[in-house]
């Protein structure tokens, strides 16, 4: 496994990130803990160091499983999680969406499940269509200043909103959003081939992520 610099952060991450949306069975399908640990261990043995989860993945089970896997090597991995979609079907109004309150509620719950005191990269999972990007960018900057997250990213946002966030951050002296993520999962199942999902970051401004 080779390593790349993540955007313009200087952070060294493996060429392939491990998405853990399949860790758990909260969605009615996925890998049990034994298989998930097997996947995690083999990924680490191959040199992988970039673990991607979300509070929503398997309704919290992905984060909970990962907490045991990463406990002995927390500082060696780059840990990414996301907020906005809720960690359960009953998440309600204050633990979904992009508001600062949802952000704080969700982040604190993720920290507890992951048994860590900071998230390396926090993604806004999807735009909620109502929270202005300057509110989102400022809230993320506040969390970076507090040390609870180290980097922030926007997932599945329109490019112009990512550009606005980056521009505001530059002008106002905020920590910039470091990354953009675009979901491009393609399904081959209908073509007699097992389903494969890939997620990618796309190019923005100063960094390829």
């Amino acid at each position: 496994m080779r390593y790349r610099i993540f955007g313009n952060t200087g952070l060294r991450v493996s060429t392939l990130a491990l998405g853990t949306g399949n860790f758990g069975n909260g969605w009615g399908y996925g890998a049990d803990k034994e298989e998930a640990l097997n996947i995690y261990t083999r990924y680490r043995e191959a040199g992988g160091n970039f673990i991607d989860t979300a509070d929503q993945y398997q309704f919290g089970q992905s984060e909970s499983m990962l907490s045991d896997f990463i406990a002995s090597e927390r500082d060696d991995i780059v840990l990414a999680t996301k907020f906005s979609l809720g960690d359960s079907p009953e998440a309600g109004l204050q633990r979904t969406g992009n508001s600062r309150k949802s952000l704080i509620n969700s982040l604190e719950a993720s920290l507890k499940r992951l048994k860590t005191d900071h998230i390396d990269l926090l993604w806004v999972h999807m735009p909620d269509g109502v929270t202005p990007i300057d509110h989102i960018a400022k809230a993320l900057d506040d969390l970076i200043r507090s040390g609870k997250i180290l980097y922030a990213g926007l997932s599945d946002f329109p490019a112009w909103r990512v550009a606005t966030a980056a521009t505001l951050a530059e002008l106002r002296g905020w920590s910039s959003v470091s990354a953009e993520l675009v979901t491009v999962r393609r399904r081959f199942a209908d073509r007699q081939i097992s389903q494969r999902g890939i997620w990618t970051g796309t190019r923005f401004g100063r960094g390829d992520t």
Partner: protein, 110 residues
């Protein structure tokens, strides 16, 4: 599932991935991941089994040729629409008739 084959571009893209997989002996998933890697972006794989992980990990050794990448790019190309279409059609005027002689920056413009 996040994307299905809901339009002709997606179907053509999958067809091209499958064709290159067949030609090279790699799995379609490996072709897709290698394509993303060739763009300089970071793929996040999402295996459900150790077998899928092993298949995904092997994609870092898949080297697609420029011809294969061109086919994938062409099959998946979307129409950008306004203003990109009118700007592209105006390239000669914007370049003073010498636009094909200008080495443009590979960096993103503000």
């Amino acid at each position: 599932m996040i994307h299905d084959e809901s339009n002709q571009i997606k179907t053509a893209t999958v067809d091209t991935v499958l064709a290159i997989a067949d030609e090279t002996g790699h799995s379609p998933g490996q072709i897709a991941i290698a394509w993303v890697l060739a763009k300089g972006t970071l793929p996040i794989i999402g295996p459900r089994t150790a077998e899928q992980l092993a298949d995904n990990l092997a994609s870092v050794d898949v080297q697609l040729t420029s011809e294969q990448l061109s086919r994938l790019d062409a099959a998946s190309a979307i129409t950008l629409g306004f203003p990109h279409d009118i700007v592209a059609a105006s390239a000669a005027s914007l370049g003073g008739g010498k636009h094909e002689l200008i080495d443009t920056s590979i960096r993103a413009l503000r």
